[in-house]
């Protein structure tokens, strides 16, 4: 019973953390958000490609596995983003400069985070996967929907968490959104 209770508490804490994070990002409180990441953060967005079907794998789930479509950080392809603390700092910093012309006026966003699943807990490290939809309305342009999955490594930080690694898997066939350079 108490193990079960602990799991419910953990799930609750993680979900609350994600909701808080999403609220900060939608409210454009990127500086506060930036305090939620570790200095060693790895922030990666694999690219997604269309692969040939491998005949030898027919009949197996692996034949059409999503892993096969991704160019990730640890292989020799070309991920869309491979960032660390410095990159995220530049993105956050730019948001509050009067001369960041391309973001003026800034886009309006709304994130919905769901399907939060704790994959493992080891001491103070959580591996969590979650899905998101992000509505993005850009003045002078159009409205867009982003959809994706985040695979996180979170570290316990007092009664909250810090993001130590995030892999963002975007659901696109053709990239027809204005930028994949947002904070997902």
């Amino acid at each position: 019973m108490s193990a079960q209770l602990k799991r419910i508490e953990q799930q609750f804490a993680i979900e609350q953390f994600y909701y808080r994070e999403a609220r900060m990002l939608d409210n454009r409180q990127y500086q506060q958000w930036f305090a939620l990441v570790t200095e060693s953060i790895s922030y990666v967005m694999p690219s997604r490609v269309n692969k040939l079907v491998d005949n030898r794998l027919r009949g197996k789930e692996e034949m059409i596995s999503i892993d096969k479509e991704l160019e990730r950080s640890d292989d020799m392809g070309s991920p869309i983003r491979e960032e660390g603390y410095a990159h995220l700092f530049v993105r956050v910093d730019r948001a509050y400069k009067a001369n960041s012309w391309a973001e003026n006026p800034p886009a309006r966003t709304r994130r919905i985070v769901g399907n939060v699943e704790i994959l493992s807990v080891e001491e103070n490290t959580y591996r969590v996967t979650s899905n998101f939809h992000l509505f993005f309305a850009r003045p002078g342009s159009d409205n867009f929907i982003y959809s994706g999955q985040r695979n996180d490594r979170l570290i316990v930080d007092g009664d909250s968490f810090k993001i130590d690694a995030r892999e963002v898997i975007m659901d696109y066939a053709n990239i027809d959104v204005p930028t994949l350079g947002l904070l997902f």
Binding site: I80, H87, W101, I175, D176, T179, G181
Partner: protein, 437 residues
């Protein structure tokens, strides 16, 4: 009815809004520009082995670029001879056959038709020799860069590139074993006209201190102001770079050092880049060893961002849409650990998630909006900045001037206007017909 001569003034100091937005102009571009130019298809390192293939585009026409069983390079239009479906759906890979999904006609990677499954059920046997994929009539490569042309009588690629090779070699020849493209291209659509991304890379470094002022440090812009040059070796091509003074320390001169990968990447990557720079003088000569490249453009729609080492192609999808492709280029013989760091010199700032690219693409989209408005055709865009400042240079081919001179764009648009004027009446009739349909 638009007259082509109204699109670009004789001195190219004025460019009409319609040059960017008119559907009839776009149809003329297909024939006059894309039908008669060398178009970039891919890099030889992407198709090293027999059976390797990648997808490409020539304007809106899908192409399969492949290495055949005979080890030769083939480029064919990706459309089945039976009902026209694309026979290749993967971005890249290695295969013996492309099997069309609809009725399973199958083709070798060189485009020849090898099987019609329905054949045994009919008495008249189709002549498979005449039913292969349509080949691109001309395919040539230079420094591993493969180009195709729909124009059978186009000049050889070497002379088409002309003195642009001097500037491209300043990069390519630094590497003993050449460069390679990392992974599949990033491809994304932007609601802009294809020419603006191209113009941007041909020579428009002068938007850097303004559009990108929140990201690019002032010292970097000062350096461009002090030692930046814009060279036009031939109208339609262009190269911008900084010509660093002799004695500039490696930290500030070596290729790759100014990228985020190198800045954050530790000593291994630095040592590697210094090693390349140490050999540069011997490999490319003194003046080119001191070149620190910015942006390059090759007519009509290939560009190379030397500072962040990315090749890009601006594929039109109508007057108001481009499918932009970009690749990270890395030295072929660098250790994997170094390659992984160097590829982030590109992705940190460019590509669909790049912080600078997102500013550029926003500007490009907004430019299309301005180009597609009414009641302003008597207000063409001003392209006259620096008119006449371009001069021959004692050591560099072409016309050379400061990066604020918009000569690169005037030269491009003069060539573009001639290309549109060259569209034959026969082609023009076809275009009119297509519009009626």
């Amino acid at each position: 009815m638009i007259k082509i001569s109204d699109l670009v003034s004789d001195d190219a100091a004025y460019i009409s809004r319609r040059a960017w937005s008119d559907p009839a102009v776009y149809q003329l571009e297909k024939h006059g520009v894309f039908g008669k130019a060398w178009l970039f298809l891919g890099h030889e390192t992407q198709i090293k082995h027999p059976g390797d293939f990648v997808q490409a585009y020539m304007c809106e026409t899908p192409i399969i670029l492949a290495r055949g069983e005979d080890n030769k390079i083939y480029a064919n239009i990706n459309s089945c001879s039976h009902r026209g479906l694309p026979v290749c759906r993967a971005d890249h890979g290695n295969t013996k056959r492309f099997v069309c999904p609809y009725h399973n006609w199958s083709y070798k990677v060189d485009g020849s038709l090898v099987a019609i499954p329905q054949e045994k059920m009919v008495s008249q046997k189709p002549d498979k020799n005449t039913l292969g994929l349509k080949p691109v009539p001309r395919v040539e490569s230079w420094q591993g860069m493969i180009f195709g042309s729909f124009d059978e009588s186009i000049e050889p690629l070497d002379s088409y590139l002309g003195d642009m090779r001097f500037y491209l070699d300043a990069f390519f020849d630094r590497f003993e074993n050449g460069i390679e493209f990392a992974g599949a291209p990033h491809r994304w659509t932007i609601n802009a006209n294809w020419k603006l991304p191209m113009e941007n890379q041909l020579g428009d470094v002068n938007h850097g201190p303004f559009l990108h002022s929140a990201v690019i440090p002032a010292e970097a812009n000062q350096e461009i102001f002090d030692v930046g040059l814009s060279a036009v070796p031939h109208p339609g091509h262009g190269a911008t770079f900084r010509l660093m003074p002799e004695g500039t320390p490696n930290e500030n001169m070596a290729w790759g050092m100014e990228g985020m990968g190198a800045i954050l990447g530790g000593s291994e990557v630095k040592e590697y880049l210094f090693e390349i720079q140490a050999k540069a003088k011997e490999r490319v000569g003194d003046i080119r060893a001191r070149m620190k490249g910015l942006t390059y453009g090759v007519y009509p729609n290939l560009s190379f961002l030397w500072s962040n080492t990315s090749f890009k192609v601006s594929h039109p999808r109508g007057p108001g849409k481009v499918e932009y492709w970009s690749w990270s280029a890395i030295p072929a013989d660098a250790p994997d650990s170094v390659k992984k760091i160097l590829r982030t010199n590109y992705s940190s700032f460019f590509g669909p998630g790049g912080i600078l690219e997102q500013e550029d693409s926003e500007a490009w989209m907004q430019q299309f909006i301005g180009s597609n408005i009414d009641f302003a055709d008597d207000k063409p865009y001003y392209y006259g900045l620096g008119m006449g400042d371009e001069k021959p240079h004692p050591e560099l081919p072409g016309m050379v001037s400061s990066t604020a001179n918009e000569y690169y764009a005037r030269a491009f648009f003069k060539r573009w206007r001639e290309a549109l004027e060259s569209v034959s009446d026969q082609d023009a009739n076809r275009i009119a017909l297509a519009e009626v349909r």
